[in-house]
Amino acid sequence: MMPIGLTHIILLSTALFFIGVYGFFTRRNLITILMSIELMLNSVNINFVAFNKYLYPQNIDGIFFSIFIITIAAAEAAVAIAIIINLYRSHNSIDVEEANEMKY
């Protein structure tokens, strides 16, 4: 059995990413889709930090990428929730199937 290293952590983050992809495909509610996107962003953060720690321990660039991704994820979540609340006011629903005016 291999000692725990980069491969284990990358496998964990890959599994987490595809859990997020599964949720993104199956959900039809905007808030739950947003939750799936948060899971995917978190798996990317784990990747950056793990590559930094195990392959380039002399640098700290991966940590900075994680910090900026977390910041932008916070801004993105806030804007997405403002859009969701606006959509709920005009449609009384946040189901993606019912917001189809621009479909045809």
Partner: protein, 173 residues
């Protein structure tokens, strides 16, 4: 197996189990709570990797900020105890198949890839180094992305208020 490996497998099982519950449960409020548990698990993974600063940011921003925001929007837009309609089999089966296939494909590549070995420098991301690099204008400094992100946060703040603002009836007439 030593203690560190056992702790890693426990953390991994915790993150993946709560993550799967977050995307499959039918009650939206429970999905938010499972997401919260999963994010706490990721913070504990950062603690396991000796990255206390990133773990602290993860707890403060994700657990304390984003999940609370999501729970507020759940309360604002729907009844929290309601069950969502069950996803159609014709939608879940292809999604599960596609995700599992992509996971197997990626895992296969990962397990056969040789990442090479790191240099023997000890990884020491203490707060001093992070703070110095964050505001450093010289080589390897991050002052430009830092300032750009601050402008982005300001734009997001104003944009959220503009989008979610309620326009009164008298003003529109």
């Amino acid at each position: 197996m030593n203690v560190q490996e056992i702790i890693f497998y426990l953390i991994a099982a915790y993150i993946l189990g709560t993550g799967i519950m977050a995307v499959t449960t039918n009650r939206i409020f429970r999905a938010a709570i499972w997401l919260l548990f999963s994010l706490v698990g990721i913070a504990s993974l950062y603690f396991w990797m000796d990255l206390e600063f990133i773990a602290a940011i993860q707890i403060v921003v994700y657990v304390g900020g984003i999940v609370v925001l999501i729970i507020f929007s759940v309360f604002l837009t729907q009844k929290a105890g309601d069950e969502m309609p069950v996803a159609l089999k014709s939608r879940t089966l292809p999604a599960a198949f596609a995700s599992l296939f992509a996971l197997a494909f990626t895992a296969n590549i990962l397990l056969h890839h040789n990442f090479g070995s790191a240099s023997n420098v000890v990884f020491d991301p203490n707060m001093d180094k992070i703070g110095m690099a964050m505001l450093n204008t010289g080589d390897g400094g991050f002052i430009l992305p830092f300032e750009t992100v601050s402008m982005l946060l300001l734009a997001a703040l104003i944009g959220c208020i503009v989008i979610a603002m309620k326009i009164k009836k008298e003003e529109t007439q």
